[in-house]
Subunit: 482 residues, 2 copies
């Protein structure tokens, strides 16, 4: 069953290579990188998925394994066009770049982006779009699958503490999500073109904001255009893609009350507003005018909290207070159920609310306090889930941090590079600042950071559980998963 699903995913990836191939054709570039990779994907995909499984049920641990393996293989194959085209000759670099693309991190090892082939640049940004909503969700949307196993896959791939079905059938839910995603992306492309951005650049930046990825086709990122209209459009769309997609569905079916009463949305917008104002005041003396400060502050806050990573200004040279806010926002991240990364606003809200309740309980041990989140009482189980997430997150971060200090970069570079990768942001500070890149890291550090990007994108557990020996054991007696 696992082989079958992964086979399907690889075939899907082959199909997705058609778009960059068309782009390459349009610009008169060689089709070889995409054709060779697609052929290889089709071959491997057909071999892996050659027999339809008898039992189509998937257990929780299989869900983790499928998701983790799928993302690893997709990245391993997705790196090939970079190598074949010669744009990124070293395979580990290409793998890093592809993982960074699919996980919507946007961290790059390229010092010069502009000389790349157009088809390759398109593929590089298209991985953001594919990875943003999730490849498995995509496969579920287009392939007929029974609901039984879909839920486990979706739970493992969609960011956030809890995943609900919007409609009774899993595949319909996936179709609705991808529909909203596609429409929003197209609107952004149209708006960018309306402002005078070329079609190619508009696609690249729309993919980057839709997946909250952050790859640009310009060395200076969005800052290269120095255009207030683009800044506002991309800034607003990054924010929109950082919102829980369920809310857009509620808007469509006119359940406006659910949207306006969403605690997570309110917290998210509140944090953004507070951060924008604080930073704008802090950088006022650099840019002189209030308008300019607000514009740069808004774009950067939106880019960092949604974990996109586009830049219009070199925030590495901003005052410590602004940098401090951005570092904290790196960890907060976007809303659950969005394409953004990080810890997620929902988890932060649950953490704050349950901590306050715990402290009230210390003062009044006999008082019964129910904590509510999104209108429902917060169960002990979901609080526990958030605690476990944060604990494992901190442990993974600490171990990775120690390993990464071996590279010998300064502590800020080390810390923010890791934070930018595990939270799927892209740029950090100092060496990996918005005007820097990851080229100076050693190959094994690039692999470590790739692992952390996948850890962050798949919400930690699938990647860690893939390292557990027992997931690889043949199981004779299968227990029902729940």
């Amino acid at each position: 069953m696992i082989g079958y699903v992964i086979g399907r995913i690889l075939l899907t990836e082959a199909a997705l290579l058609v778009l960059p191939a068309v782009t390459a054709l349009a610009y008169g570039e060689s089709l070889r990188p995409f054709l060779l990779t697609a052929l290889l994907l089709v071959a491997v995909g057909l071999i892996m998925g050659r027999k339809k499984p008898i039992r189509t049920a998937l257990y929780a641990r299989d869900g983790f394994a499928v998701v983790a393996l799928a993302w690893l293989l997709m990245s391993a194959f997705g790196a090939l066009p970079f190598v074949i085209s010669g744009d990124i000759p070293f395979y580990v670099d290409a793998f890093f770049e592809t993982v960074s693309g699919f996980t919507t991190t946007g961290a790059s090892i390229l010092t010069e982006i502009e000389p790349l082939h157009r088809g390759i640049l398109f593929w590089r940004s298209f991985t953001h779009w594919v990875g943003g909503m999730g490849v498995l969700v995509f496969v579920m949307a287009i392939l007929p699958m029974t609901d039984g196993h879909g839920m486990h896959l979706m739970r493992a791939e969609v960011p956030g503490p809890s995943v609900g079905k919007l409609v009774s059938r899993m595949s319909d839910t996936a179709k609705i999500l991808y529909g909203i995603y596609l429409v929003l992306t197209v609107i952004e492309i149209v708006l960018l073109m309306a402002g005078g951005m070329p079609l190619f650049d508009s696609c690249i930046h729309a993919f980057g904001s839709a997946g909250t990825g952050g790859f640009s086709n310009r060395n200076l990122s969005v800052g290269a255009y120095d255009n207030a209209y683009f800044d506002v459009v991309i800034g607003v769309f990054m924010l929109l893609f950082g919102v829980n997609f369920n809310l857009y569905y509620f808007l469509l079916i006119k359940r406006f009350k659910d949207v306006f009463h969403s605690e997570e949305l309110r917290a998210y917008l509140g944090i953004v507003a507070a951060a924008v104002i604080a930073i704008a005041v802090d950088i006022l003396h650099i840019y002189g005018s209030v308008g300019k400060s607000l514009r740069y502050a808004f774009f950067q806050v939106s880019s960092i909290i949604t974990t996109t990573g586009f830049a219009t200004a070199d925030f590495n040279s901003w005052p410590t207070f602004s940098k401090g806010i951005l570092v904290v926002l790196m960890f907060v991240g976007a809303c659950a159920g969005s394409t953004g990364g990080g810890v997620k606003v929902a988890r932060v809200v649950i953490l704050v609310k349950s901590s306050l309740a715990d402290m009230r309980k210390m003062l009044h041990p006999n008082a019964i306090a129910t904590v509510r989140f999104e209108g429902k009482p917060l169960t002990e189980r979901s609080v526990r889930g958030v605690h476990v997430f944060i604990s494992v997150y901190v442990l993974v971060f600490a171990v990775s941090f120690l390993l990464l200090t071996l590279e010998g970069f300064d502590l800020i570079t080390t810390f923010t590079a890791l934070a930018a990768c595990i939270n799927n942001i892209g740029p950090g500070l100092e060496v990996v600042g918005p005007m820097g890149n990851y080229a100076q890291f050693s190959p094994w550090a690039k692999l470590l950071l790739s692992f952390n990007m996948l850890v962050g994108r798949l919400e930690i557990f699938p990647m860690l559980l893939l390292c557990a020996p027992s997931i690889w054991k043949r199981r004779i007696v299968r227990q029902p998963s729940r």
Copy 2:
């Protein structure tokens, strides 16, 4: 009742001022700073504790209030000798220095330590010794108190996730703990003197290591002596004072098995050994010889993990890997029930073990896994306690970090200054490195850091709960606390 206990504590502080006063007398210095402060303490103490309360029971929330208020008032009065003597003329600076002393942090605003009066230097370091084991524990040891309220006080003041009585009576437990503490301190003084250190210096450094504080009477800290014997003695004693004191009691009553099977002790020593070897290898190229590298690495690891903060080398100039290890150790901290600060090894062990169990549970949802710690099954309640601690700790850290970035120091200074204060260590990196100090911070940042030192020393909750409005309300109906 609260007033009565705090009155007693202030009277005790007045009594403790006799020792520095004697020192001042011995060196022919003015007694004024100590006499005036002691008189004030006696006056306020007598007024507050003038009527013996009718009801001597203390509730959980009263325990928090007593501890938090006691530490604030002790520091507020304890700062007076610095101001009166003229050694630290500005009151906020003196308050910072005293909080730093009592909380055994060892962070200093002094750029020059050596010109201070001898009596003042003695008082500065003596606060470490008093704060290390806890003032309330001391009061419990010397004053007759019923057991009912003692437990709540002890729980709020002794570091670590759980406090057990060693013997059936609380005051006997407190006496045993202080007895061990005193004996170990005297042994260290004797050993230092045997190596040729003057009596005064020996006392200062023994107080600093016993309380895991870190104030020295030399600008270069322990490095001023450049003596391998002193390094080893102080390094070993810092480690010893970072061990749970219950284990020494077990040694005394010959329960050796409990000591050798202590999981926390093993984890603590394991972390120390691994860190010493890793750092020694990393700094080998700086110091040339293996012996010297091991000596500096051992001293610094011992100093940081026990949150003492003595220095023999400028670790700010060590390679990033070594600095990274030290930064991680800053958060790990010493054993529960020791005089050290930080998160505590016990909590880290519980966190790692319960996280691994949670991940196993994801793979095998039906398996029943009991996690054991120190031979006993880990209850859901104690895991929850650790999670709540870590959550609130992270939240307090994030908010304080943002406020502290307003000072405009670089991010490493800001981050490590806060880490060094909340974990009660003292030195951080860069501006607040082992050769730097906290003099450049603004008065309000010093107050913020003082708050964080108290938050760290009292294990977060007492200080935070003191800010809760409901703790200040008059209660008409009293509920039994448990």
